[in-house]
Subunit: 338 residues, 4 copies
């Protein structure tokens, strides 16, 4: 960490700052600038709060050299983490995992049909929304517990672990009992109370990147979960918010090699929410695999125009199956199974 | 609402869509385009889900003409809403309200001192964080209930209603009992479960705009609270995320006249979090008042360099007092008291 | 095009607007809204200026249904455009073209060596910067004409057409004579005078997307060139500006399927400038091919750490060659040669 | 400047980098990190190219402590620059200058009328577009030289210096002769050839911030002009591009205090282009004055609905006059005349 103090900082202020840092077991080296006083801090700087250091009127700025996350950092954990989702392994050199299913769970028979179709096509985890984060209070909010129950039944029947979004702490027990992979949605990526609670379980967590969150903040949210004792975190990119209007969000595929370099956690791509448009999903899915992703999570529906939510981005089942076939060929080129 | 269907859409698909909309009591008018089939939908379109309509492979796009919010919409409620925060009125032609206090509540004596300083300077609501949303799990997380208690005591002593951030539903009772104005933070602007719960109370709510949320989404979140029966919503802008690096966020002051035109709800500006830099707070506060804001929420601390969080953006008490004086003069020019 | 007028708009204002549009040969249909007067405009709306229509105080908003570009629009030109760059064909079902070379041209011998290496590795167009857009006036500004000469000599020797960036109209003759593919850089994407001038030539143009430009604005800039009579436009995505800090820019790969759907022009990806980091280039290149790109433009240098500019994003020649090999395998999966 | 090298960097690579920097007359200090080798560079680091230093595979990152601009930097030029625009002084403690006029120059009589109205209302510089940067090749492109002539005549008649946008080097002589303040538009902020050419004149320059450019890049573009010998640069903020859709751009008013702190150059605000909506212009103008701006540039038109361009954001003359009156009162509160 590099701290730059103003040239006019009185010596006693400088001494006070240096001492407060050294008291925490870190070392401070001075580099005497011509226009500034610059200090280097060596040691475990994750325990320092940069905004607190910046508070002194004599401090010009504070810059980190090493990342503020530790448990999620590949520097300290060189080996890939492989997360076991009720038997389906995600990450490392394991086969690429495709998760599929409808945006919203709609009925028991529909859920059964969708799980069957996903499994037949080669999907290995069944996704579906029972509690739905909707921008409008007047939109369909999901079937809730009933939806979770339909998913759990269908998942067992077809041998597919299930993933669904948890929005609120008071449903945590229900999810721990019935869901194999707990999704934390983009809007809750910095709902720190929720992160802390899932961190106390051992359940695998699919942590979506927030719409306007940096990769560093995303890894810090993973760190929250891991700091609680739960290291089973899978990261999921689902597009970020930009000025572009032809897509719902902008899919940032560069996260794949970046996450692989900076972290040991698995990384999965969600091209459905990222693009918001089924016509773009196949191209972005193949691109994600070529880039080295550990998995995909894709919306598919047997009748997209009549889906209860987000039908515009749902693949028809035949498109879903075709995508997996094509994806398998791309996977082979980059040395992975699917 | 305008729905554009592809030229090649079969007549039966067109009929089906038109019928499904008319069944909801809306009227559909056709405009026959040269390259598209364009339909206009007339009536209460807030009940339609644009993403669901877009799901048909024959639909090219769906555009709203009128806003998707109703209760928060000035069109249907021309008169300004004035929110009464335990006696302090915010909005309409009421005097501009300055809310002040430290980022984090630190101790009982410090809280008492800060409340006294805020009141003496002309602040009318006392702010402070007891539950803190921190990016790092290793940073100070706030005093919790203890902090709320210190605030409640100090607020009563100096006659200042208090505002503090609620992060989790399980603390709602504590807030309803002890806090005068419940803050929903930027990271929770789309924590819909939380919005629904505060919507069931009658407590005034300070709803911060999310870092990457449009004004429309912000008003939709207000709509969530109001749809539950709680119309006491005050909007608060605290900066949005952009590419600029010299400020923590970019303060979007144009929200002031926009919110005034589109909604009847009061609008308050938080220049401390928006800029992240105390050297910018005075200029942005005066600008906010000149733009027509109904209030300000400002961080102030008796010893910013030793504040437990966000000291870099805290004003010294003398700066806070000076700002109120200057702000009062600007307020007069735009026809308001302060 | 849909025009929404306020409910209180006087009839004479409505009539005036309708007439002014009909005078241009377009048809106007009215849809009587409950809260607004909404009109649909049918015909060639590219000749209407939406901002001019919005100028009336009685107009609430103006929304386009069809795109504002015509020559670049696939609706009116269903067949893929294939651009012939001095014998190397780009677009349609032609083999994917890899363009390679250093960021800056440095010396005659170095240019010769780089062209040889690019050709040997399978690159088919030689890239290099002679006139350099640099953020700092104190940074190396390129060799200018001398650099163009070196490139032209080396390109001929190794049978590679050359591409280089044109920054100013006064160098246009030099480029028309010596360069096979004229690059318009991201910073000049809306330098309309420059676009008009290259539009008067028949030279192929590589039009980079501006850092903060929408796909629609990009296609409008292509339209500028095409409206002048030059239809040899190749689009090039090189990353957009977002809040993310771990990459120089955010590569928006979704442009590949979007451009293919909306336009008939070829689309090429520049992963070097998009990421700014050589460690990310291979993954993003393979992803671009999987997504369906018609080509890649990649920086490579025989000694990146001593490159005169942008060494951090340059591939070593062996990396460049390896990338082409891998890329060829991916290309085959998506049905293309390389 | 702080350079972080990987722990595994061989000593000879480290030595080579240190030597190359010391050869330029700078000093290098080492801070031995636990996980990295960190170096501090002291001296005039504006001559170093950070991207070139990052090129070594052993360098992890490079961070600047001091700004990369020198001539525009207040550290080296503490006194405010006051730019004299043919007698009208802008900056320092001079009265706030309001520039007004139509978006596009339309005819001789209209120009005369507009200049008269601007002068009568208290505007002190007359603005107008003769060469127009339009997104669409099919939109009105301006009257060109004829428009400049109309402006020059009207400006002289009413004693108002004139400001207009220069888009291309080949019109520079025309502008030097006829225009008092040369505007460099947002789209050309990084048209470095154009910046260099205006840098060779002594004409005052109004440098608009690019739509997606950081304040640092903006000051670097000012540096380009100043490095050529022309120190008469006025900065102009006109909104940046964000995800928000209710405004054309997002006006970033925090630039006012930031520019005042980091630079000595005057700063002017353009609320018309920033918001794109006349209903927001007054509020944003008053806010800009309250924030400390040195001037405003505002579009006004005697008949906005029939303006040839951008009528939606043009004020009616009475609104323009009212704004100046109100602005004068705000100016007084912040200690300035207008």
């Amino acid at each position: 960490m590099i701290i730059t103090m103003k040239k006019l900082a009185p010596q006693e202020e400088i001494d006070r700052m240096v001492q407060s840092i050294e008291l925490k077991g870190l070392h401070v080296t001075m580099i005497s600038g011509t226009d500034y006083n610059v200090f280097g801090v060596v040691g475990d700087t994750t325990i320092l709060d940069d905004r607190k250091l910046s508070a002194s009127p004599y401090v010009d700025n504070v810059q980190r050299v090493s990342a503020p996350y530790k448990l999620a950092n590949r520097v300290f954990h060189p080996a890939d983490t492989v997360v076991d989702v009720s038997g389906v392994k995600v990450g490392g050199s394991e086969p690429i995992v495709v998760m599929g299913g409808p945006c919203s769970i709609e009925s028991e028979s529909h859920t059964d049909e969708m799980a069957r179709l996903v499994g037949e096509a080669g999907g290995r985890i069944f996704r579906g929304g029972a509690y739905k984060p909707r921008t409008s209070p007047y939109a369909f909010q999901g079937l809730g517990s009933e939806g979770i129950r339909y998913m759990a039944v269908a998942g067992k029947k077809y041998g597919l672990p299930i993933v669904s979004e948890l929005m609120s702490i008071d449903k945590l027990d229900e999810f721990v009992e019935n869901v194999d992979l707990i999704q934390i949605g983009a809007r809750n990526m910095q709902n720190f109370d929720l992160l802390k609670e899932v961190g106390k379980t051992k359940k695998p967590v699919l942590l979506k990147r927030g719409l306007a969150n940096t990769i560093e903040e995303w890894l810090m949210s993973a760190e929250y979960i891991m700091a609680g004792g739960n290291e089973n975190v899978i990261l999921c990119e689902r597009g970020i918010r930009t000025f572009e209007k032809y897509t719902r969000n902008t899919l940032d595929l560069s996260v794949v090699p970046i996450v692989k370099q900076r972290s040991h956690l698995p990384i999965v791509i969600d091209p459905s929410h990222a693009t918001g448009d089924r016509k773009l999903v196949e191209a972005m899915s193949l691109a994600a695999i070529a880039a080295g992703a550990d998995g995909l999570i894709i919306e598919t529906h047997c009748d997209p125009p009549h889906a209860l939510s987000d039908g515009a981005q749902c693949l028809y089942p035949s498109q879903f199956a075709f995508l997996i076939e094509k994806g398998r060929e791309i996977a082979r080129v980059v040395g992975r199974d699917l």
